[in-house]
Symmetry: C2
Subunit: 408 residues, 2 copies
């Protein structure tokens, strides 16, 4: 007997037929003698519909954020009650619990609340009483009892956090893909599904554009060492286990190749090389709530330096306007930018123990005459910014170079 | 400065434009220096849509009722948050409170919960803090924190109960009619809007088919002596005050004429006049959860009696089947029934002090050759069952006879 937390996303519960299918899946696991807690998202499309209602009614100001959370929370509330009904109609004991009933206590940052603690008494009581517990994902409440939400995609985080609080044996994330791949299967035909991947690798992949799991949920899973099983709600096949690296994992140098086309590059040319200049360049960007990803400062020559960084494409225009003013102030020569870039990354825990990964990556790209514009590295990741048009080619070449191609 | 509780029904908040109009109405009352608590229903059509979702997912069993309440509660939650947003976007301080936040505590009869108590600390705090409070109607929670609902139309009851708990000066019920009329304006052109009506009269009218106010809300208002103002959300005109009879009300013998076409008549002929026979006739009807309204036992002759009663038309067929079996058992001669009947009632607190009201009613009907099939009376009401085809004629004749016609 195991305690299993399952999470079903919006497409898995998109209509009443799919909700009934989820009920069957849950019942099957329960019938095997497992204790079951199920976390659900809003039915696909519902959250967007609610956002449109809010848009038509309010002005979207900060003051309205508390009320927006009250509104959005109805989405998961609806799914939770429907799934409980479906299970009850199949003669199972089931009970839905909302954020304030689960007692998933958060801070009061409406719209993007952080989990403070989870009081598990009510869930545990229901489990002991042979109930299947259906928890509304994405939502919690602050200490004053106000409804809060965890930010878009927060149901993954709900599921992992509840699994951690209950010391569950596994947290299964059911989604519309059947696992985590060595590369995006849409652009790399030879990509294979991984049986397992470490938390750290997943964190590096999530941040790089692999949209399978919300990054916060992986951080949570790592912190509390909860095995996360990413799998498809539309098949019975095993997916990918996201686990601690110590768990006897084979140490590949590189586990996956990812790409990200969502960023743009901005370069300030001939910046006077003085203390405080970097702060002057980045403070106004931060004030505008624009997230900077990579920053590269080129080799200096004659008291001047070139400084390049990347921002989300959607913020490119604003960032350029800001930096043009900054350049005048600090006396930089010019500001140039480029939206047609892509970031290609090789991710792998084994990188720590394998030499020459970077060299192999640069050689493989050079072999196809792909120019590298920027480079950044972390302990288990090497990322290169290249021209956007080479994205697919670069992914395929690197996938082959690091021996990830599926066997025929 | 007064403390006003306003309630807006489903048609008044049917879309975002109407919600914005409601916000303007509320803001106007607030700007006059009043403290405002607003109770809202689900947007028109939403509750039915949720019921259809539930129908498709579950089996509608008793075990599912807890979950149905969780589902239905999302309707009022949506409206409450949207109205709060609309007010906030107009630069008012507003906060939505759900059943469990208002702390409207009920028993655990899901789907038809009774209010036990209301803890007003949270509402009062918000009011003192210059907030307009938007309370989700129709919903509460039991002492264990489960979401409950008060039964269809329960938002009226929420509003009056909250008004009572807060000792509000008035509870304004905004609806799609502009008040309570002396007769149904659709069938009696001379019907007039009443300026005021007593709780008891309203209770008698509500039970008789005047669907303006939920009967439970009137009982609540009477118990706590809360003046209820029934008025239109689409105009600025005063509606009808439902108040205590002592409040200097003019004592008309008859205040209103109502009709009800929802019942059918069943007669058992030549019932042996023995002790215990009535129990044998009505117990199986009660067991089948059929509500009996009027019961008449005709004068006896030769140890036999005729017994007539009315049931809702929708239960007529089942009731006839039951009584045919009963008739065989007890040795009654035959069972006859009639679905084409209507109940016409004259209602008026003044009836207590006016003689001859009944005689005047019978005379007026006789003057049009309308045969009276059954008669029943309460302290402030006389009801006659007649053939259905005379309904409109009877209402018009009685309206004139009791001097209720609008002056030209």
């Amino acid at each position: 007997m195991a305690l299993i937390v399952q999470k079903f996303g919006g497409t898995s519960v998109a209509n009443t037929d799919r909700i009934k299918n989820v009920a069957k899946k849950v019942a099957k696991a329960f019938d095997k003698g497992n204790q079951m807690v199920v976390v659900v998202s809003a039915m696909a499309g519902v959250t967007d519909k609610l956002l449109r209602l809010a848009e038509k009614t309010g002005k979207g100001s900060m003051q309205e954020k508390r009320e927006l959370d009250v509104l959005l929370a109805t989405g998961e509330q609806t799914t939770a009650s429907l799934l409980a009904m479906a299970l009850i109609s199949m003669n199972y004991k089931a009970v839905s619990l909302l954020g304030h009933q689960v007692k998933l206590i958060t801070n009061s940052t409406f719209g993007n609340a952080k989990i403070a603690e989870i009081h598990t008494e009510r869930i545990q009581e229901a489990i002991n009483d042979q109930h299947i517990v259906i928890a509304a994902g994405f939502q919690g409440c602050d200490s004053a009892g106000n409804i809060t939400t965890l930010g878009r995609g927060g149901s993954d985080t709900s599921a992992v956090a509840i699994a951690a609080a209950l010391k569950a044996d596994v947290c299964e994330i059911y989604t519309d893909v059947d696992g985590v791949y060595t590369a995006d299967p849409n652009i790399c035909q030879k990509a294979c599904k991984m049986d397992q991947i470490s938390y750290d690798e997943m964190l590096n992949m999530a941040g790089l554009g692999a949209k399978v799991l919300q990054i916060r949920s992986v951080e949570f899973a790592k912190k509390y060492n909860i095995p996360v099983h990413v799998r498809s709600s539309f098949s019975e096949e095993e997916g990918t286990m996201v686990i601690n690296e110590d768990s006897g994992m084979e140490n590949m140098a590189v586990s996956a190749i990812t790409q990200n086309k969502d960023e743009a590059r901005i370069t300030l040319k001939k910046v006077p090389d003085q203390p405080g200049v970097a702060a002057k360049i980045f403070s106004p960007i931060t004030d505008a709530k624009i997230v900077v990803d990579m920053i590269i400062q080129n080799t200096r020559s004659g008291g001047e330096t070139d400084l390049t960084f990347t921002v989300p494409k959607q913020d490119y225009k604003r960032a350029m306007e800001i930096e043009q003013k900054v350049a005048e102030e600090i006396g930089a020569k010019e500001v140039i930018g480029d939206k047609n870039i892509a970031k290609i990354s090789a991710v792998g825990s084994g990188m720590r123990n394998h030499f020459g990964v970077a060299a192999k990556m640069f050689n493989a790209l050079a072999g196809e005459n792909i120019n590298i514009i920027m480079i950044s590295t972390s302990e288990i990741r090497i990322s290169c910014v290249i021209q956007e048009k080479y994205t697919e080619l670069a992914v395929q070449v690197l996938h082959t170079a690091f021996g990830l191609d599926q066997e025929e």
